[in-house]
């Protein structure tokens, strides 16, 4: 495992070092960050890493580990893509990004771009895998399906900028 992690680190180092200090002309870098080189791979590796770490905990059964991987993944995705609004960068857009989640900022709001497709498909694939490894157990099914919906529904084009039941409907700091 240590070996694998070392190669991950090397990979991150090589790929992200190239991004640092690179000039770009984006008003809001959030719009493009999901298209940067290696970010999809990095994301998959992180999910794999999470799974490996959970597997290494002795008391957890395989089913529980998969459900945990799925739920934690979706929770983090919900938090970073669909809850946190605005951008960490100083943008000259007079606070336009202040009102939008990261998902809504991605690719300037253009729908069905490759990054969007990738990030929609990935939780579904993870869900399918989890379903298989939890042996289609009803309890796991309910937990995993609810968790999946929480990240799929906000991704629909119909929900762009929509805050159903007023969830998350306030200005971020």
């Amino acid at each position: 495992v240590a070996d694998v992690m070392l190669s991950f680190t090397t990979f991150f180092f090589l790929h992200f070092r190239m991004q640092v200090g690179v000039a770009h002309s984006e008003v809001n870098p959030n719009t493009r960050v999901m298209n940067s080189r290696g970010i999809w791979l990095a994301y998959m590796i992180l999910v794999g890493l999470l799974h490996v770490v959970l597997l290494s905990i002795p008391v957890l059964s395989v089913s529980v580990v998969w459900t945990l991987t799925n739920v934690i993944h979706n929770l983090v995705m919900y938090l970073f893509l669909h809850t946190v609004k605005g951008t960490p960068f100083e943008t000259p857009d007079q606070g336009k990004a202040r009102l939008l989640t990261h998902w809504e900022q991605m690719d300037y709001g253009v729908q069905f771009t490759s990054s969007r497709k990738f990030l929609t498909i990935s939780p579904i694939v993870l869900y399918l895998l989890t379903s298989f490894y939890t042996k289609y157990d009803p309890v796991h099914f309910i937990i995993n399906t609810a968790s999946l919906l929480s990240v799929l529904i906000p991704k629909l084009p119909q929900f762009h900028g929509v805050r159903i039941f007023g969830i998350n409907n306030f200005y971020p700091v």
């Binding site: 000259p92 606070g95 253009v110 069905f112 771009t113 929609t120 399918l128 289609y136 200005y171």
Partner: protein, 472 residues
Amino acid sequence: LRTFSDLNTMLETQFLFLAPAYHLILEGILILWIVRLLFSKTYKLQERSDLTEKEKEELIEEWQPEPLVPPVSKEHPALNYNIVSGPPNHKIVVNGKECINFASFNFLGLLANERVKNAALTSLRKYGVGTCGPRGFYGTFDVHLELEDRLAKFMRTEEAIIYSYGFATIASAIPAYSKRGDLVFVDESACFAIQKGLQASRSNLKYFKHNDMADLERLLKEQEAEDQKNPRKARVTRRFIIVEGLYMNTGNICPLPELLKLKYKYKVRIFLEESLSFGVLGEHGQGVTEHFGINIDDIDLISANMENSLASVGGFCCGRSFVIDHQRLSGQGYCFSASLPPMLASAAIEALNIMEENPDIFSVLREKCQRIHNMLQGISGMKVVGESFSPAFHLQLEKSTGSRESDVKLLQAIIDYCTDRQIALTQARYLDKDEKFLPPPSIRVVVSVEQTEEELDKAAALIKEAAQHNLH
């Protein structure tokens, strides 16, 4: 028992076949979704239109293009301009006729000052004309830093920042702080530069009646009730009151002590635009804060034009370093505009020197303002709008003649009458369509320390005579 367990394991290895139907259906749907997603075309949300082709055609058919140049009457003021030759000093040559200038914002008469001119010339020989870059990009000269330092000391604030264009100062400062979703309470009579700044800020605007503190408090109370309904939103909404020290459009002073009470009661920040009051009000010309004896640290941001009293070009903002420093990366006019030509900065420094050496100049100006103000009272058919100590005030018609156009014509006739007799005056000009609340037409009288008492008396008498001549 063992066989049963074996059977169980065997079944478990083939559990796929034991999966409940609902689960398989859901998975089937999800896989179909993935397939559909992979083949979906990208599109922009805004670009989708629910109009059919036929409806689009109809809309295009209905559209009537407007002429690029709308028909303009020959009497339009833009087509009937005056020609000024020479500098707009104490004396101004309008259409070849030398007049006494009652139209330029040269309150302290520093425009023609020899010392200022010499300082500018010396600076010109040392640095050349332009700076060829914005302040953050090779455009900072020592005189810029010196001027900022001097302005900060003059205003008794921590820091000052200079802009290369007076109009852009407040128009850049407002959007540097107030963003989308923020709230701005602003006086209806705010000048055009403030209006443009507000427009650029994209903030939510609440207009209160000119100098009406009760109306402002009503709006603040309404907002307080609104905030209690949605405290999470309220917590992240910045709010500002934007007022002018002396209003360009009315010549009135803002009730600063009352504003401060409201500021602390309702937790709002105050931006003060002092283009007219800087170098005019107060014992040392510090402006409206000195006039009311208010600690300048109570005001969050002060902005002023250097094109009036200082007789240079550009503008400045001053306040606490914490606030002002923000503009060095966020003030659009500061970041993206070539810096002030060094000779103009030197001229402004020399003008500050003169202001500091002769603090009497401000009381002289005040006396002159009051003198002409008093003399202009009681013209039948006209009223004087503005404070008696304001060096720029307005003469409005008591009763409109019916339309703005005819009012403007009547006032122009009065002005022409005076110009013929060597008093140069002008109407307050506005971009009629762009003003949020268009002020009524008026003659704007500007007082300068250079005008002698005889000249002031002559101007007042002449305006009276012209009004008599044209209104009755």
